[in-house]
């Protein structure tokens, strides 16, 4: 829980800074893929590994995952239809049979219609989500953060000792 809160505070800090839009956008894209996947499978593990290894905003990924889980729940019938049509494609039966008999691959549960449908949709849409997320972060900074910084409240807060103490602390111990 502490780690999660740390990540969420990190997200807020990063969101309001002038850098890191790629990390946040990657977090949204990763969360999108996680949220769309209906059950725990091998690809979920792969995403988690990516979250740990690459500098992707984990807090954003979890937030996005939470949000997209609800979207996915509504879209499940669509995923089922897409997955079924892919799994029933005559031309792909050979490759599916081969994958089905390979080690590790069956652990992805690719032969389930919802897993296949949501997987295909998520992979195809993840670059779009990444670009959309990035533009959203930039837009947020321009329209919300910049305006907020011009407000009297913020200026007054910046003049307080608490703010000075925090910036010093962040300079020395912040990530």
């Amino acid at each position: 829980m502490t780690l999660l809160f740390k990540q969420l505070f990190g997200l807020l800090k990063l969101l309001n800074s002038e850098t890191g839009e790629n990390q946040i956008a990657a977090g949204i894209a990763a969360g999108f893929v996680l949220g769309m996947t209906p059950a725990f499978s091998l690809q979920t593990l792969l995403i988690f590994l990516c979250l740990f290894v690459f500098r992707i905003q984990i807090g954003m990924a979890f937030l996005a995952c939470f949000f997209f889980k609800f979207v996915a729940w509504v879209l499940d019938p669509l995923f089922h239809a897409v997955g079924s049509s892919i799994l029933e494609l005559g031309a792909l039966q050979g490759i599916f049979t081969r994958l089905y008999n390979m080690p590790l691959v069956p652990l992805t549960r690719f032969n389930n219609s919802v897993v296949m449908g949501s997987g295909v949709v998520a992979i195809l849409l993840s670059p779009v989500i990444y670009l959309w997320g990035k533009s959203l972060v930039i837009k947020y900074r321009v329209t919300v953060v910049a305006r907020f910084k011009e407000t009297k409240i913020w200026k007054a807060f910046r003049a307080t000792s608490l703010y000075n103490w925090y910036t010093t602390y962040d300079q020395h111990f912040g990530s």
Binding site: F54, Y100, P103, L107, N111, Q171
Partner: protein, 626 residues
Amino acid sequence: MTNTSAAKKPKGPIRTGALVPSLIFLGLIYAYFFFFFDGYLRRGIEFAATRVHGAEVDVARVHTSFLKATFQLTGLEVTDKEKPERNLFQVGEIRFAALWDALLRGKVAIEEASVLDVQAYTPRKSPGYVLPPPPPSTPGLLAKAQEQILAQTRAHFNQNFLGDIADVAAGTDPKAKLKEIQGNLKTEARAKELEKELEAKQAEWKKRAAELPKAADIQALESKIKALDLSGKNPLELANNLKKAKDIVAEAQGKVKQVEVAQSQLTGDIQKYNNSIADLQRFAQQDVADLQKQLQIPSLDPKEFSRQLFMAQVEKRLGSVRKYIEIARKYMPAKGATTKEKSEELLPPARGVGRTYHFPITKGYPLFWLKQAKVSSEISQSEWAGKVWGGLSDLTSSPSQLGRPTKLHIAGDFPKQNIHGLDLQAVIDHTGEQAKETIKASVAAFPVTDQKFSDSADVKLGVKRATAATSMNGSLVNQSMNLDLSGRLEKPEFEFDAKSPIVKEVLGAALKGLPAVTMRAVVTGSWDKFDIWIDSNLGSELSKGFQKQLQAKLGDAQAKLSSLVNDKIGPSKKKLQDLLGGLSGGPGKAIAQNKGEAEKALKGAQGSATGGKGGSPANLLKGFGF
């Protein structure tokens, strides 16, 4: 804040800072598997095996290796449910290695497992606990199966059978107890039911008889025919009148037919109630048998003796067979069972679950597959070790996919424990549509101590020491089964005691010089409805002995019951016969009389239509089919 961030060196795409936490995380996982996993697995095995066996199962150590995919279990001890201070058997070591090729496919395939150092009847350091039988209506497959067997065996099983005989020997009057029983007799209830039915029938037939066509109706039709001109002067008119005459005769025939049908239906009803009244005797016999049971008046039939003496043993064996069969059928489903599941899959899948497609398996494994397990044990220095050999092959969770039945064969001797000729063969064939199992088990000789046949306050009967032999042959196909169990106790040393001197004397005389006790039980039918036939020379001997002493007393008690039942149902039976007499004498007689008159009137009508002898109209009428 912005200034300080900008001053920092920009970070690369790799999260180097996460390396240490990741290593710690992996280290923790490794530590869990290294220090705790084997222990938890051991406790899990002990818990599951204890629940399945019904008595404490202990495992000394479990060792697993992730990289080698190996499993090693040492010191398996299975408590003897009959004598918890010893183990039924003990296995020194079980080891196997799973195939990584299968593990990467999410399956467990074991090429060969070894079971080593088997010992029997080893003493336990502390007595193992025996699980109490599950209380009725406990959820779960095993509890339900057990309940189903007990419901049937207990219906024929009186655990205090010899105690009840002792009661009769002591001269207890069953009629005194009968006053306490406030139950309705089945015969009485059936008689009341018949009475109501007969009264309703009588009313129904009275009404129907009144509504049936009468002779007068047919005579009216005859008058209509007579009114027609059949003299043949005008051919056209003659043809018309002949047609009318034919229709009227057909109408009259229909009315007579109606009366005939009614009469035959009434005869059928009378016959049916006649049979029902006669059948009351069967109900009366059942009532006598029920009362006999309620009053605990034992039967001196040798078969009943055998059944009561050995039912507990048969029940125990049936329970064991059922338990293991249920487990096998649940975890190794036959093709028929999987087809059923597939047909259920045809229903629309639940939201978010989707449909799982199955592609042909070119190189795959069932979810679990133990190709072969070899049991090997030699007589060693240990006092309890035995020579055991045999094995298990093709134990799998998907027999239909594998296409090979599971086979088990274990044979052995434990000379130091006087156990000889142990042989167990089982074939579990769940490869086809139907689940089939065959079991053949026998032990040529083994020691028996303190076996109890009756342990009531009134009578105690058991065998202190004997050498036993036992065998079981069984075949099960789906729900039907056929089990043949037999046992023999050689040179039994009986121990018995009874409060009643007569019973003690009878027991002493019957058991004196009995060289062996034999028992054979045959169970046929299905698990939810089976018949048990048990025969034993001990039952016959005891029956003979008690018959000499108690036949007169028991006969008297049974006669009293029969007369009681007959006295109670006598008036009801009489009333029923009167009602039936009323039915055949009232509406029955009226319909029969009506039928005679109607037939007579019909003949008259036909005569009028044919118009006497041989004239031309008559010939014409014949031409119309009269």
